[in-house]
Structure formats: C-alpha cells, structure tokens
C-alpha cells in the first residue's frame, strides 16, 4: 500500500498546487469584499453571494445560460445520436464521412466563434449578408436580441455535435450485434429495436455524453465572447461572461469569486444527479 502512495505523491502534489490551492483561495475570496481600487480586503460572510444572486444581471444571465445549455445540449444530443446511428451501419465512404463530421471538434472554440461571426455578419457575411437577404430575410442575426442567442447556439452545436457523435458511436459499437440479430429473428422493427435494445444499452454512454456536454456548455465563454460579447445588450450574456465582467471590468473580485463558487456547485449537483442515473 505504501508503495502505491509513493507513486501517487508527485501527482498529488501537482494537483494540490494547481487545483486545490486556487480552489481554496477562490472560496476564501468569495467570502471577502475585494474591490481593487478600495484599500483592504474585508470579510463579508455571504454578502457577495447575496449581492450576486439578487442582482438583475445574474438572474438574466442564469436564464440565458439555462436556455443555452438545454437547447444546445438537446440539439447536439439529437444530432449526435442521429449521426451515430446512421454511421454505425456499414456505408460506402464511412471512414471519410466520419472524418469530415469530426472536423469541427478540432477547431478551437475561439476560431469557431470568429468563423460564425463573419459568416453571419449582416454586412459582409456569406450567410448573413448574402444568402439570407437573397431569401428575403433582412434582419441581423447577431444584432437582433431575439436571434443572437440562436446564432450562438448554432455555432456551439456545429462545434460540439462531433464530440457527442464520437461518444455515442463508441457506445453503439459496444453493443453486441447478436442481440439485434435475435430481435430481427423475432420480427422486431427498427424502431422497436431502438427502443428496447439500443437506447437502454446506450444509457451509460448517453449520460456520460450529457455530463460532458453540460459542463462544456455551462462554462462556455470564448465562442460567445468572440461572437457577441454577451450582446446585443445582455441577450447572450451567460454566467461565465458575467463572471468575467464582474472580475475584470468591474474589478469586484469578491463577487466574481462568489459567482464562480455558485457555478461550481451547480455543475457538481447536475453532474451528481446524472451520475446517479448511471448507477441506477
């Protein structure tokens, strides 16, 4: 046993320094008033938390985040599953098609954000400036508060569907084919096979994919920042963007830390609930 701990020690030390210390410091700051142009750091208890969760901006950002996470998560799941189901069959050119579908995931989110920003740009974008106006759609996708969130979701779905696809494809390929053969012999239709065999056996992979997707979407910053900076107004301002603003624009490090702690707890609770589903 002791030998095992000795091998574990270097990793533990690194984890302590890189992960544990910042996390503890984050919690510490969240309980203190620390505004950089005001001298001194003062203990405020839950003051930062109260101030944050009662602010209009937090409530609005939370709404935007929930809409973003649920919509983007659902769309990536449905599309990813559909692609996985189609491409799990033997098809001509399957390898090339899978490669092409996977390409967006290797594009960094910042680059994806810039790409979609220019594509959807109302003045010069291929989609926003030429294709849509030619079809009679004159509005600015990124400039309209009702459409901007949809545009950001579109970019995220494009970027993240391949990851869902890969996870679900791996899950599908782990299901023994004999079960399908037996079902076919018994006269089961495709939909019956999907409901009774595929979906139940894919559940673990689905939940893992959803956990990863949730964490990814909940914490997404770069794509949205690059595309809209949270605008127009605060129409696409999610919690990560609000946290960034609070810390780096408003210089209120205490409240920014409090928001980060709130986000950490939300992520932990959702992940735990989903993990429980796996165990069940």
């Amino acid at each position: 046993m002791r030998e095992q701990y000795k091998f574990l020690l270097p990793s533990l030390i690194v984890a302590l320094v890189v992960v544990a210390f910042p996390t503890v410091f984050l919690f510490y700051i969240s309980f203190h008033r620390w505004i950089i142009f005001i001298q001194g750091i003062e203990f405020t208890g839950f003051g930062n938390f109260y101030s944050m969760i009662t602010s209009r901006e937090f409530i609005k950002s939370l709404q935007v985040t929930l809409i973003f996470v649920v919509t983007s998560g659902l769309l990536t799941f449905v599309l990813g599953l559909a692609l996985a189901l189609i491409l799990s069959e033997r098809l001509r050119g399957q390898g090339i098609i899978r490669t092409i579908i996977t390409l967006p995931v290797i594009v960094p989110p910042v680059v994806a954000g810039f790409t979609w920003k220019f594509l959807l740009n109302r003045e010069v974008g291929v989609i926003g400036g030429y294709l849509l106006p030619a079809l009679g759609f004159q509005k600015s996708l990124l400039g309209d508060p009702h459409l901007a969130l949809g545009s950001v979701i579109l970019a995220d779905v494009w970027s993240r569907t391949p990851l869902m696809f890969l996870i679900l494809l791996a899950g599908l390929q782990a299901i023994p084919t004999e079960i399908y053969e037996a079902a076919r012999i018994d006269g089961a239709s495709y939909w019956q096979s999907f409901r009774k065999i595929t979906f139940p056996l894919l559940k673990s992979a689905i939940i893992i994919a959803l956990i990863l997707r949730f964490i990814d979407a909940f914490n997404l910053f770069d794509t949205i920042f690059v595309m809209t900076t949270g605008g127009p107004g605060i129409a696409t301002q999610t919690l990560p963007l609000l946290g960034w603003k609070t810390g780096f624009l408003y210089y209120n490090l205490g409240e920014a830390a409090a928001l980060a702690v709130i986000m950490l707890f939300i992520t932990m609770i959702v992940s735990l609930l989903l993990v429980r589903r796996i165990r069940q």
Partner: protein
Amino acid sequence: MLKSFKWFGLVLLVTGVVLLTLNAASLVAQQRPTIRIIAFAQGFAWPELFGTTGTERTELLKQLEDREGVNIEIEWGDEWAVRQKVLTDLIAHTGRYDIVLVGSDGGVQTYGAGGFLEPLDSYLEEHPSEYFDPNDVYPKFLDANRMPPGGPLYALPYYSFGAGIIYRKDIFDRYGLTPPKTTDELLKVLEKLKQGFERDGITDIYPITMRGAPGEEPTLDLAGFVYAYAGYPAWFEGGAITAEEIKKNKAKPIFTSEDFKKGFKAFVDILRKYGPPGASTHTWVDMMNIYAAGKAAILMPSAINGYAALGITENPDVKNNTRFAKIPVGPGGKQIQSFWTFSLGINKDSKHKLKAWRVLTYLVGKDSMQAFAERTQWPNVTMKSVLYSDVLLSKYGEEEIRLNEESILEADPYYFPYIPELTEFMDKIGTAASRAIAGEDVDTVLNELQTWALERMYKAGYYD
C-alpha cells in the same frame, strides 16, 4: 611540429579571447536590470524596436538597451488578455511588469485611484528625459492621464485620438452635401443620404457607421453625444466628475434626466435609423471594416478608426475620396467628444522605476511618435512637431492637419466622470445603449441603468 603547436596555440588564444568577450557581454547583459513591458498591438506598436512580429531584437532595441543599461522584454496579448494580466499583476503586487498599458478610459482612473501606478510628475521635473519633451505634447493628452482631473499624472500617451468625422467626399458630392457643423445638420445629412441611397436603389451602403457593441466600447462615443447635447458631462447631478465632488455634493446619477437622455437617444436613434442592421454588436473593428469595404458614407466620432480603415482598404473609392471634418457641435454648445490615449504607466511595485521611466519616455517620445506617423500615416499622434511633420503634411495637406489639431485643442478629456468605478459605469451604459439600439425601449433601459447606478453608488459609500 613546433610550428603546428604555435598555430594551435594561436587558434586557442583567439578562441579564448572571443569566448571571454562573449561571456563578458552576456554577463553584463545578465547583470543589467530587465525592464518588462506589457502591451497590446503586437507588430503595430513600436515595430522599429520589436519588429513587425513584435518578437525581434532590432539594432535600435539593442542600442537603446546599451544606452540605458537595461534589458528590455515585451509581452504582448490582445487587449482583453493584456488588461487581465495587468490587473492580476498589479493586485498581486508581483511587480513582474515594470511598464503597463493602461487606457484613459478606465485603467488610469481605477489603477491611479487604487495606488497601483507610480505618479510621474516628479519624474518629469527631476529626471527630464531627452527622449520626451512634455512641452511638445498636446496638454489634453497628458490631462487625460491625470487622476483625479488636475491631479497626479499616472501615464504617458503613445498614439491617441480626439473626435472627428471621416466621410466619403464622392458620396457627399453626389448628393450635394457638405460636412455638418452642428448635430442638427448631421441629422439632415444622414436623412438626405438615406433618401438618396433609397432613390438610387443602393442597399449595401449605409449613411453612418458607429459602434454599438455591449460593454464599454460605445460609451466612449455615446458619452460624447451626451456631453454635446447637455453641454456638460450629464452623468451626475451638477455635472460632478470626481469622486470628491460626488461625495461632497451627494450628487446622484441622472441617467433618466432629460440632459442625459437627449444625447443617449440621439446616439441610439442615429444608429437605429441610419446605421447598419447589426450595429448593436459592432465594435471599432466592425466600424473600420465597414468603412474600409465602402459600406458607409460617414464614420464618427472616433475618427482614428477611419484612418485605420484607409490603411487597410482595397476599395479605390474609399482610398481616394476619404476626408476628415471637424466634429459637429450639439445643442448644448459643445462638440461631440471621443477621446482616448494608448497610455503606459509605471507599476508601483516595479523594482527599477527610474530605468523604467527612461524606457517609458523613449516608448512615447519623439522618435517613437515620428516612427508611428511615418509607418501608419495616421495623424493620431500626441506631439505637435510630429503632427506637422512632412510625412503627415504631404499626405493630408495643411488644412486637414490643422483640422485634426483643432479637434485636439478643442477636446475636453473630462467629458465623462473620472471616478474609480468608471469602467463599470462605461460597461453598463454601453450595454444599455446596445440594448436600445437593438430595439428595446429607451426609457426602460435608462430606468434600469438609473436603478443600478443609484444602488452602486450607495453601495460604494458615496452618500454616507
């Protein structure tokens, strides 16, 4: 054999001398203090020192280092990344960066008030630098870096700008227009442009481009409109612009007052009616690109973006027909403002403040400013001698240079309050503007802004 030994010995001796010299040089270099700078605009700022990649060690840089007895290192990033690095370095008091980039639209105010920057007045008096003549710098550019107004100087400006109109003379001529001198004339010009474009079936050129992205960006320009329409910085009662004044007079925010609303609404309405459809998300980059692409007849009030557009445009109509005009005057009797300096300050925790001062004065001094003008050919320089240098006079002519100078001389850098919370206010006001440009009711956004501002000022203890 002996001859071979002699030659061998000679080669060894020469090699030894060379190695010793190199070692001595590297030892000297190692013993020299290192001055670290952090800035954005890699490849654009000081390429004569750091090359077009921002990572080269040019002869000029080496000469500067030898002259000042320092090693100079520079770290680059995009503006947001640099701001974050500056913030974390300053609050952690690590003193990693000796010279930090701060803007006059929040950085100077916040870091100056927080005591993170070294006051520079005593350096100007006791350690005058041959690189930097403060008398050659337009005073308004220095004033913008004092916190509070009239107080200690916390940074020196590199390239900087005042307000102006950049416009397409060919389009103006087509519709029989002249540059507007007042905001009423501006509205008439915009309406004529819009009607003219509609009549001629032009759907891909807009009368005007301004920035309306959420956050602090539009506030730099929108605050200029508020100032012009109200005749004063109508953010707090009585036009208070310092923390002291606000506290002393218990001056409350007045974002729902007619004085603030007039200018706010004018800015929003102009963009709604005459700007491109996506204006509520446009940053200065979008403004520049739209004008460069020939898709706007007017760019204002931050004319520097028009000069930047000239530098990148491939559209001959834009290249050959772009002109500068003075910014219009508003109903309040003041010009619309847009004023900003790319400023550098010395970290209070720097271990080599005097050496940093010497390097700083070179970075913002005559040679650097002249190099900037020759390279970019933008008239957005801080020094009179550079503004009237041959390179800019031959490019723009004396008339346009004189107009640019007037825009600087007539500017008021204090067209918005100089308070430590400035960045937060600018973000909130800009975001409110973005919402209004996108279609939300102006009164609703201003009511919310007022509610927020009042709570914020109470929380900050201004009215205790």
